[in-house]
Symmetry: C2
Subunit: 460 residues, 2 copies
């Protein structure tokens, strides 16, 4: 790897180039094992994971099997769930079991949950580490997106009656299994969580000190049943690096570390964006063509049906009103402004719903504010629409007034629809982000055309 820290914006980490990749592929195909091992030795596990994404299944299998089990396990953990599932199809149950044996229990369970039930049972049966098998069996009962599903069993706990010297002994005993420790959890005889002691305090403690004298009782914990979002909110709010997970009696069962939660936060942000843009499955640009099409069609077709309703409405109103080219010229203005206002309104509400601090805003107060913002926007949009319309060939003052008045109504209506739809979805426990997508645009379109043609009918 060439040293690349010449440019001011460069980070120390490794950047994957096409040349480097080809070199590794050649080495794999010619089975130059020593070269491969030496090269991988220079890299961080996360960088090796990025190389795997670019290799063929068999090449990737060959590469990982060459490496130390612990390193291989970490590389596999770093893969995205979908890719990992495909990747592990090249591995036997025995091979997978070797990695599951050395993983943190939360990562082990993730991998097992991705396998078909019979294979995951085979793998558990093949585990050499019986404690790990027990951990994994415990964790597999929890819902994947709950605190129980996110937690790992590996943690260091100490009885409140013990001394700091015993505590250090305990750390030594568990040191190999438990990585990233910054605190030791304090429990009573029934394993009920009482507090924590930071490693810093342990280092600075006097020789004879007892855990009871120096531990910190102020500890935030979450229940196994807490939702992933709640765990993320709590860790973010209280700036926690790790949060202990307890059962309903308060017994310490595991812990969740911040790195898992950061991944959770980015994933949910991505899911929300996909929901808002009318993509119905969790896809990425490099998924298969068919999967990409399938993820996009449902909302496209819902949107099209909305538009057919609009078409039916306009065509049948055409029997009553004379819809000239000039009248129809403003249909896009009505539709797209309504859509834009609706999306703006709903995205503000979705964001506000996601932020759970503080007191819930009462509905009446919320709507009163929406009314004020909507009125101002509607007046300004109406004025712009009046003068804008005058500039269109064939539009007289009457039609411009009609357009302006319609737009005023559409902005008001769309603001309320955009506010109420996500609130309603949220009430029924549906992700309110989907309301910002084609759904709200379509509804607003229909409303808008109705209002416009009604006003055309009444005024002209």
């Amino acid at each position: 790897m060439e040293p690349t820290n010449q440019q001011p914006f460069e980070l120390t980490p490794f950047e994957l180039t096409k040349e480097y990749l080809e070199k590794i592929q050649t080495a794999i195909n010619q089975q130059e094992n020593e070269l491969i091992i030496a090269e991988m030795d220079e890299l961080y596990p996360a960088d090796i994971t990025n190389i795997l994404y670019e290799l063929e299944g068999e090449e990737a299998h060959y590469l990982v099997r060459l490496l130390d089990k612990k390193l291989g396990a970490e590389i596999i953990t770093n893969l995205d769930a979908d890719d990992r599932k495909k990747f592990l199809k090249n591995f036997t149950a025995m091979e997978i079991a070797e990695y599951v044996d050395v993983l943190d229990s939360d990562d082990a369970v993730d991998i097992l949950n991705e396998q078909p039930k019979d294979i995951s049972e085979d793998i558990i049966g093949l585990l050499k580490d019986r404690e790990q098998a027990r951990f994994v069996n415990d964790l597999m009962h929890y819902d994947e997106d709950s605190a129980g599903g996110l937690m790992q069993k590996e943690l260091i706990k100490i009885n409140i009656k013990q001394s700091i010297t015993e505590c250090i002994e305990e750390i030594r005993r568990q040191a190999e299994d438990v990585e990233n420790v910054s605190s030791v959890y304090v429990v009573d005889d029934e394993s009920i969580l009482l507090g924590r002691v930071s490693l810093k305090k342990i280092i600075l403690a006097k020789r004879g000190a007892r855990v009871a004298d120096i531990y910190d009782e102020n500890i935030v914990s979450v229940k196994t049943t807490a939702k992933g979002e709640e765990v993320a909110d709590v860790m973010q709010k209280y700036d926690l690096e790790a949060v202990p997970v307890v059962n309903i009696q308060g017994r310490l069962l595991g812990r969740i570390t911040i790195d898992d939660v950061v991944d959770f936060i980015t994933e949910s942000a991505q899911e929300d964006v996909q929901a808002m843009t009318g993509i119905s499955e969790d896809v990425e640009e490099d998924d298969s063509v068919w999967r990409l099409v399938r993820s996009r069609l449902p909302w496209l077709i819902v949107g099209m049906f909305g538009s057919f309703l609009a078409a039916k409405l306009i065509a049948s109103l055409g029997n009553i009103i004379q819809i000239t080219a000039t009248v129809s010229a403003f249909i896009p203005l009505i539709g797209s402004t309504g859509g834009n206002v609706g999306i703006q309104s709903s995205s503000l509400i979705v964001q506000s719903l996601a932020d759970k601090s503080g007191i819930d805003i009462p509905l009446s107060e919320r709507l009163w504010k929406v009314l004020k913002v909507a009125l101002l926007n509607a007046v300004l949009a109406g004025v712009v629409a009046f003068f804008g319309s005058l500039a269109v060939d064939g539009a007289d003052v009457d039609l411009s007034l009609t357009v302006s008045l319609s737009l005023f109504s559409v902005v008001l209506l769309a603001s309320f629809m955009g506010t109420l739809t996500p609130l309603a979805l949220n009430r029924f426990n549906i992700n309110p982000a989907i309301a910002s997508g084609p759904f709200i645009t379509t509804t607003n379109d229909l409303l808008g055309y109705g209002v416009y043609l009604l006003i055309v009918y009444l005024l002209m």
Copy 2:
């Protein structure tokens, strides 16, 4: 505070109720200082911050001034930047200096940067802790969104020549200033970063061990000039709790902790969503009416101007083609399907651009895949459109064919526009997320209407 851990989904943390808030407000207005202090003593700083959001400026000032300086400083740090700026208007420079004195240097700089220049200079002059004044003066030179602007000066470093016993002495010396330590950084005589030692290793080290024997050379660092997004990517990729920041020579200058980066990640996700939904300022539901209106108008008006262009196009084509009510009835279908496809395409690309792992997909490969997905979507949408159109009053087979063919073209065009626009914006260093907003909808609308009416003209 009532104990509320009866329900299974409840977290241990405090939930703010209207009753509790009224109790605190009454206590403030009647200056029942002991009651207030006793109540706040039960809460975490983050919970007190949430109470501040609900109080009037003077009430909040009164409450915070009652509390211990260190606690007050933490509460103030938890506030959102905008709210903090408003909140601190009730404080004198001397009062603010008392909090800045006890804050971590990165948080101190954030507060100072929010103040007018003359006030922030006054505050620095009033600091009692001269080391803090020096830290803050150092940090204020960096761009707020760079690693230099995100880092704090507080960290524990140790010379590679020292022993573990000396290292523990160093931790003891700096323990009060530096919170959340999980590693000690190892440097040479020139303060060049060489590696790190985890506190776990220090606890488990033999008495006589030397730093040089046990430290870990594999350490990821970032340069002061690295962008916030890059820091977030690196910490996420390598699962880091803290990352050291070095200058171009590799000298250790500070560190960035994961909690600051988590905030950064959520903020950028929010900004992207706002950009995508056509909101041009960073606003929240509880901002002022005027601010909310102002953040929404620019893109609304851009969208309206696009629609006026569409109106001009349709009205002037009306002189050549006969635009009947039935023909105009399908204008919404063309516009909204084009808009939806464009947004779906662009959001996939925006997401793919944000994910920087792996090799960049070459443009030709990207477009080839877009073409395949677009063709499939276009054929399916075209078929649905043909049969859907037949169901609209007055639409014959000819018109349905026209609609179907137009929709086919619009889906193809919108897919390419939706892909190329964010790529182009990204090339010019503009946030590609804005391309998913009204901008792309408007462009696609215009293209779509043109194609539709052209085909109407050619076929009918």
